[in-house]
């Protein structure tokens, strides 16, 4: 059986040859089994977002290979990789088109990975489907399908973006601190929806979080990044039994420095 994702010795340097040169990924390798839900933690600038952006193809990597379900996508442009990926971003504004209706946004997502033609951009059968799916969020959005997404709250937008990411089952769901901009209560709700969607559709998912507790509680696997590579990787029972203080100790032991992330929540 193919791995859901293989990253082989990825290197990425930003602003090469300038004073701002920054080695963001430094020989990063990772394999995900189908159905893995991995949480990712690490200090500021550890390369977490860069790893997800490398997979999504925001820019090409300097070297290394990116393989999704047996297919080498290293050379594909961002819009072609979208076929394989569902993405939710930290900023709730990023994942949706604000000036378009909820149903129009969903219709765009429903066509991910398909050639867009001069057929209707949204059909009545699709509306019914979207209404059903929105109802599962339990936010009352199924009655507001023609509301402009720009009028929704951050949490509602993230929930819609999550739903959009799963509408066409992706090989891989990428969540980059997608609850960081939300208040604690909304964040908890969006996390719950994430869990629900990942379980229901049996998705393989990567979730960057700054909350160590969330990183331990959610998913079946946890990785810690530092200086552009993975320094710690646990799964299963061992992960479940982790405590925040274990993670901090682990970090200091391996990296030789104190864990620093200005957004990190230790509790």
């Amino acid at each position: 059986m193919n791995k859901a994702l293989e990253l082989r010795d990825i290197h990425k340097v930003f602003n090469k040859g300038t004073v701002n040169e920054k080695v963001a990924l430094n020989g990063l390798s990772l394999e995900l089994e189908p159905g893995d839900f991995v949480t990712i933690i690490g200090g500021n600038g550890a390369g977490k977002s860069t790893m997800l952006n490398a997979v999504a193809g925001v820019w090409p990597v300097d070297s290394g290979q990116i393989i999704v379900n047996g297919e080498d996508i290293t050379m594909l442009p961002e819009h072609k990789r979208a076929t394989y990926l569902g993405r939710v971003f930290q900023d709730p504004m990023t994942g949706t088109a604000a000036t378009m209706d909820i149903e129009e946004n969903m219709a765009l997502a429903y066509r991910r990975g398909r050639k867009r033609t001069l057929k209707r951009g949204l059909t009545n059968e699709e509306r019914d489907l979207f209404r059903e799916k929105l109802a599962t969020l339990d936010l009352g959005l199924e009655d507001r399908m023609t509301t402009k997404v720009g009028l929704l709250s951050g949490g509602q937008r993230q929930a819609v973006t999550l739903l959009m990411a799963s509408l066409k089952k992706p090989e891989l769901l990428l969540l980059d601190e997608h609850t960081a901009a939300l208040d604690p209560k909304t964040a908890a709700k969006v996390l719950e929806i994430s869990d629900q969607i990942i379980n229901e559709y049996h998705l393989t998912a990567m979730m960057v979080t700054h909350n160590m507790k969330d990183a331990i509680v959610h998913g079946n696997r946890l990785i810690m990044m530092n200086e552009g590579r993975i320094i710690y990787d646990v799964r299963g029972e061992e992960k479940k039994n982790l405590h925040v203080k274990d993670l901090l100790a682990k970090f200091e032991e391996i990296s030789g420095s104190e864990f620093a992330n200005d957004r990190m929540m230790l509790s």
């Binding site: 072609k80 504004m93 990023t94 604000a98 000036t99 765009l108 867009r116 951009g121 949204l122």
Partner: protein, 317 residues
């Protein structure tokens, strides 16, 4: 003062309105093109100034060569489209910033238009050729004027219908998404570069078509006919939005109404233009007046937001 007012003849003004309305209808096709790039794609496209003259030049030369005006007008649409596509390729394939790319195309078109016509101005007489539109149809007789206006109204309705349906398709939705949030569009698998090129092509096709109508309407194509065209297009868009925007956005099929608002904006622009000229405002200064109006209305939403942020901040203190 008294002398000035007594020299103004309201009848002259009234008599000139059918002509201004007709001109507004001819230019509204350009305004719709500008609406598509500026508002939907969020791209300030200065190709327009060149592609309208390009459309005019191509159309007039073809008609003079004995091609039927309707065919010449359709060819002008495709000519404008090519101009837009070139701007699109300059910015997507070669990475030239959008505005600059469009200026490069615009400037090149100036030379190309001179080559096409062999001189800077080329007349096409309504007496010699069966033109689709002409100011003469408006002024000649009531019958020809009615025919002209009915024809233009049907054409504009058809155009809005086609555009409305197009923006409801999968491709149309991709254009709107690309203009609104290109990152999101790419994450949904939309090739935003392709969409940009396509949209610039379609919008400038409309501009070329507008140029073909303009050339026939005024009886000549001129290399300078496009100077400031983008500003006139923007003025039409903004006037339409300011006057009818709220009304349009509350309707079903809001986008069709919005396009209707832009058409009205274009007509109103030319009526106001005529009115200001009638007040004996020097015609050389019309461009700075138009620019000032556009600048003011583009600034209003920004200033409003700024002042509301300030008020909001004051409340929190």
């Amino acid at each position: 003062m008294v002398q000035y007012f007594s020299s103004l003849d309201p009848i002259t003004l009234l008599k000139s309105f059918p002509g201004s309305i007709a001109q507004g209808m001819v230019w509204c096709v350009l305004a719709l093109g500008v609406y598509i790039t500026f508002r939907i794609l969020d791209f300030a496209d200065l190709t327009v100034d060149g592609s309208i003259a390009f459309g005019g030049a191509v159309c007039v030369m073809l008609i003079r060569a004995g091609i039927s005006p309707i065919v010449a007008t359709i060819v002008s649409f495709f000519a404008g489209m090519v101009a837009g596509i070139i701007t699109g390729l300059l910015t997507t394939l070669l990475g030239i910033p959008g505005i600059l790319a469009s200026i490069l195309t615009q400037i090149s078109l100036y030379s190309i238009n001179l080559h096409i016509m062999g001189q800077s101005n080329m007349p096409v007489s309504v007496d010699k050729y069966p033109l689709l539109v002409s100011l003469r149809y408006v002024t000649d007789s009531t019958q020809s004027a009615v025919l002209f206006f009915v024809g233009m109204i049907i054409f504009i309705f058809l155009l809005i219908g086609v555009l409305y349906n197009f923006f409801g398709t999968e491709v149309g939705a991709s254009i709107r998404a690309t203009g609104c949030n290109p990152n999101m569009a790419r994450a949904q698998g939309i090739n935003t570069n392709y969409i940009k090129v396509l949209t610039l092509g379609i919008a400038n096709g409309l501009v070329g078509l507008s140029g073909a109508l303009c050339g026939q309407f005024s009886g000549a194509a001129d290399v300078n006919m496009g100077r400031g065209a983008i500003v006139i297009g923007l003025a039409a868009v903004i006037i339409g939005e300011v006057i009818f925007g709220k009304f349009a956005s509350k309707r079903k099929a809001a986008f069709a109404w919005t396009m209707g608002a832009v058409v009205c904006g274009s007509i109103i622009y030319y009526m106001v233009y005529q009115f200001v000229l009638w007040l004996k405002f020097p015609s050389d200064d019309m461009k700075i007046l138009t620019a000032a109006v556009v600048a003011a209305f583009l600034a209003i939403p920004y200033l409003k937001e700024k002042s509301s942020v300030k008020k909001g901040a004051a409340k929190h203190e």
